[in-house]
Symmetry: C2
Subunit: 239 residues, 2 copies
């Protein structure tokens, strides 16, 4: 997977094309571009090109300690920016892609979020009936009109318009929650190797142990392990 | 439950005492006090008094649109501050109470977080093996020393030192995840009534339907429904 430089004037479109020609399976981008949201107008050429080519896009969270957790502070303490911030980033980026209508306007986008979309599965109720009431908490903008202009209910985009991966850092209840939230065809295996305490295969072993222990139907298991990624990339990956 | 005014010079200690004398079951505070984190020194009198009296404390998230999701923007769009921000607030506040050693120094605190602690159960892997590596991502401060000075592994505080409630806004996978993450004795029933799309009992009905449908062991079910809250408050609540 190649890195697409979103800060380039064409938002990485040429580099994505070059990488795909060289055999890349897709491109990686981050949840923000130097602090800018992905629905900013300068990134439209990227979404348009990726929609046209069907290039898989891995969407990785990005945040540092300079993103404070409290309005009276200048930095995030105790690495909260990583533990909670990265997962927040993923969810916020998905929301921006939904409400800005990028998902409606470019329906062939193949975006793969990491870590089961971060906090998304746990917040199904807020994204569902909570966001069905969008606008009720806002008086300086007509957010009900925004929601009405979407093609479907906000929650459906989160379930149906994004792919996601299983990297939950050995969290078993979290894995079950993620598997229940997303349709099977949206889920691909990942484990965040080698960023575990051993700097090796701990997360891979644990993720496999959890998935194997769930005794998923064989077709579902194979789809998650490689079948879905083969469909997304159009490549045979396992013999 | 009475509101404890944390902005008062004694951080609401007197009001909490007055309310409890009048028969309140506990006090409510917010995850930040006008943007300030709960581990600021001015709130120590509150933690000390609540630890001494064993007063139950409901910890409610608080955040508005002025808390931006991107460093290049001034406000949070599409009510992301509510949908994701409130749950982030809860997790961040818990982390600050843990790493500042408030939970170590005041071990009798009875803090009840809402909504299964927001995003906490989904992020078990980050709070666990992820935060076991605290310091590895930080060079301007010795966070490993902070973690070593704690009485136990960070993850254990999140599971063992907080109570939580079942308000998941009709999210079934989320409810299962929350119930799996926390020990039974830490969970109390709640439904966020009446903030549902009907402005009535929808969340209550759905939360009951989910919990009833899980066919929990009778003792576990009763504990969540009222037994745990009776223990926390020291009051007989159900005849």
């Amino acid at each position: 997977v190649a890195q697409a430089p979103m800060s380039a004037p064409d938002a990485g479109v040429r580099e994505a094309a070059r990488a795909m020609k060289m055999g890349a399976l897709g491109v990686q981008i981050y949840t923000n571009v130097a602090g800018r949201p992905l629905d900013n107008p300068e990134f439209r050429p990227f979404w348009e090109a990726m929609n046209k080519t069907g290039t898989p896009i891995w969407l990785h969270p990005s945040r540092g300690a300079s993103f404070s957790d409290y309005q009276t502070e200048q930095k995030s303490r105790y690495e909260i920016w990583w533990t909670f911030g990265w997962s927040y980033e993923t969810a916020a980026a998905m929301a921006r892609l939904v409400f800005s209508k990028i998902m409606d306007n470019y329906p062939k986008l193949k975006i793969i979020t990491h870590h089961f979309g971060g906090i998304v599965p746990m917040l199904e109720g807020r994204i569902g009936p909570g966001w069905d009431q969008i606008g009720a908490r806002t008086s300086d903008e007509d957010l009900q009109a925004v929601a009405k202009s979407l093609k479907k209910r906000p929650l459906r985009y989160f379930k149906e318009n994004f792919y996601t991966d299983t990297a939950a850092f050995s969290g078993k209840p979290a894995t079950i929650c993620g598997l229940s939230f997303y349709p099977t065809e949206k889920i691909v295996f990942a484990s965040d190797c080698p960023f575990d305490p051993e700097k090796g295969t701990f997360y891979t072993r644990e993720t496999l142990k959890i998935l194997d222990g769930l005794k998923l139907p064989k077709t579902k298991y194979k789809a998650i392990m490689h079948g879905n990624l083969e469909k997304i990339t159009g490549r045979k990956l396992v013999k």
